[in-house]
Structures are given as structure tokens and as C-alpha cells.
Symmetry: C2
Subunit: 211 residues, 2 copies
């Protein structure tokens, strides 16, 4: 099997470290025990070459032999097909994993990221607060009843949902104990800790190289 | 093959008609020539039974034999696996289709739906306008260069992206001729026209039943 390559920035400011989305792909590879390497594109100069690979000027993207794909959610589903650790092989388990992976992207992150964006850019009012509350309330209710989102066990849907929910400003938003416990369980996994430590070390090394 | 069942509301007000997301699943089934039926859940009373099937109280959800899944994006990817019309079978074509399907959900709709929400709820300022502009600018640049998003031909990624972009308030937002031409091409497809007409007729019949 061709080695997977996870592409990220060569450097980022301190703020986003630990949250740059190459972490999702690193984490998935670690869970599945897949061989992968990390390569970089410039953070400062995102020219036509970057846009040709990621049309919105973001990271990560993934190379798998001669296949390239952007969008962390697409990369996760691509990697998940390689490993039953990430996605069950039975049709019902696979459908549950797919639905919750998409829910993390399109029902939670679709509200939480724009809410966060308004907060950090200092909008005078945040018109998304009520909507965010209703979504986090529903997740709390679900996570009160079940430890895992799909198929009664860890899947790539938990990986992604935990990464969406663990954003600090979001966790400070309200009192959601079942959600907190869920985040703690997922981010306590050795594969997350390895991926997180590796990302932090990657950007720390970049600081040293720039100094 | 088990018949697919697309679940939607029994009725909705006039505003969202033509845009309720069961249309995405109807459209996909029409493109692929798959046998499907439409069934309904109450719009007015969304109780525990609804939440057990769609935890955020929305529609659509899809039944495929004994498999149920919510999230229109997940339903689309599930249906797409059944038909090469919607998703190429070669790994590179499939990866491109996957990345653009996720991009529609997580790079465009993640900005456009909250922007739209702030607009219709009359937020005093819409702090997402700059972000939306940058995303629509990038899509315009891409659609200036290519007729289709993935694999050089129609895929489920075009179906979803066109459905995301065709929202009227979004089209009134700026001057994007390549995007307009793209929307016109996709929504001119017989399968879209059939799905759209069927949804409009479905809700019109509901009006008659309530009268």
C-alpha cells in the first residue's frame, strides 16, 4: 500500500496549534495503524500552487499514491475505508458511521464554527447563539444515553465529533457534563495524544527553524 | 433491491417549498433511476419518535431496507454508492466526488447557511459577509474553468453543490455569472425538474388536505 501523506502548513501562530485539522488525519492514521508521513506547504504564501490543491487556501489535504483529496471530512472517510477500526464493514454500522460523520460537519460544525468566528472577530451581537444552544443541548442529550455515536463502539464519527466539540471557546459556552466526559474519553485515547503531541512538536520545530 | 424510502414533512409553509432537503434525495434517486417512495412525518409535532430518527428534529432521512440514516449529505453518499451515474467507480474519481461533496457541506454551506440565517432573522450586522464573499469568489473562479466539480462529468457533488448555491438570497448576494450558469445547468436537468415538481406537488396536496 502506498504511504499516506498528510499535508499541513510549515508553521502557524500559537493560537491554532493543537487544532489545525491535519490533526484529524494524523489521529485517524494513528488509530488505524496506517503508515503515513507529514509534509508541508507555506503558511505565509498561499499562491496558485496551494489553491490548485486546496481551492479555499486551507489545510489539510491528503495524498494516497496518485490520489489527492482536500477537506478533512473527505480525508477521514477515505482513510476510514482502509480500516475496520475506523468504520464497521457491515452496511448498518457503516451507514451509522457515515451519518454521524456528516452530522459532525453539517449539523454541529456548521453552527459552531460560524458562531466561534463571530465571537473571535468581535461581532457586536452573535445571532447564532440560540441555534448553537439547541444543537449542543441535543448532543448532550444523546451523549447522556450513549458512549459512542455509531455501532456501539469507537468510529471515525467519534473522532470527528470530538474534534469539533473540543474547541475551548465552545466548551466554555455552557454546562454540558456528558459532552465533557465524551470529549475527555476521546481525547484520552493514545492515538489522539500521539497525533496532538506530534502536531505541537511539528510547529515548535518550525519556530526554532524561523528563529 | 429494497425500495428506498425518502422521509420528509407532511406539510411545510410556502417559504421553504422547493428547498426542503428531501429534494436532494429525490433528485439523486431520479438521476440514478432508483425505485423510491416518499413518506412523511408531522411538521407540527416533532416529538421523541422524530428525534429518535433525526436527533435535530429535521428532515430528510432515508430508509434502505433495515438501514436508516439521517443527514442529507450522508443519504446522498449512501445512494451514490448504488449508481455510477452519481459517483465514478475508479478510486480517483470517487475521491474527487467525495471531496467536493464534503466541500459543499463544510466549506460552502457551513458559511452560506449561517449567513442566510443571520440575514433572515434580521441580525443588525452580518459578520459572515466577508467570509461568504471569499468562498463564493473561489467557487466562481473554479466554475469559470470547469463545467463539473469532479471527474469531468456530473456527479452527486454537482447535485449537492448546485442545491447549496441555488438559494435565492445567496444568488442575489453578488455577481457570479459562472456560478449562475452552473446552477442553471444543474437545475435544468430532467431529474432535478422532476424532483422539484414532485416536492411542490407533495406540499400542495398537503394544503388541500388541511383545507
Amino acid at each position: 500500500m502506498a504511504q499516506l501523506i498528510v499535508w499541513t502548513y510549515d508553521w502557524v501562530p500559537e493560537g491554532p496549534r493543537g487544532f489545525v485539522r491535519d490533526l484529524r488525519l494524523r489521529w485517524a492514521c494513528e488509530e488505524a495503524g496506517l503508515d503515513y508521513a507529514v509534509r508541508t506547504v507555506p503558511f505565509d504564501d498561499r499562491g496558485p500552487e496551494h489553491l490548485a490543491r486546496q481551492p479555499f487556501g486551507q489545510v489539510p489535504f491528503l495524498s494516497d499514491g496518485d490520489i489527492d483529496l482536500f477537506e478533512s471530512g473527505a480525508g477521514l472517510l477515505h482513510i476510514a475505508r482502509k480500516s475496520e477500526t475506523l468504520m464497521p464493514r457491515d452496511p448498518a454500522g457503516e451507514a451509522q458511521t457515515l451519518q454521524w460523520t456528516i452530522a459532525a460537519l453539517n449539523s454541529i460544525e456548521m453552527v459552531s464554527v460560524p458562531w466561534w468566528f463571530l465571537e473571535v472577530t468581535g461581532a457586536k451581537e452573535n445571532g447564532l447563539t440560540g441555534w448553537l444552544t439547541s444543537r449542543l443541548d441535543r448532543m448532550e442529550s444523546i451523549l447522556n444515553k450513549q458512549d459512542w455515536l455509531a455501532a456501539g463502539r469507537f468510529t471515525v464519527a467519534d473522532l470527528l465529533m470530538a474534534d469539533v466539540l473540543r474547541v475551548e471557546r465552545l466548551r466554555a459556552f455552557g454546562h454540558y457534563p456528558a459532552t465533557e466526559a465524551y470529549i475527555a474519553r476521546q481525547t484520552g485515547r493514545p492515538a489522539f495524544r500521539k497525533a496532538h503531541a506530534d502536531q505541537m512538536a511539528h510547529f515548535a520545530a518550525a519556530d526554532a527553524a524561523r528563529a
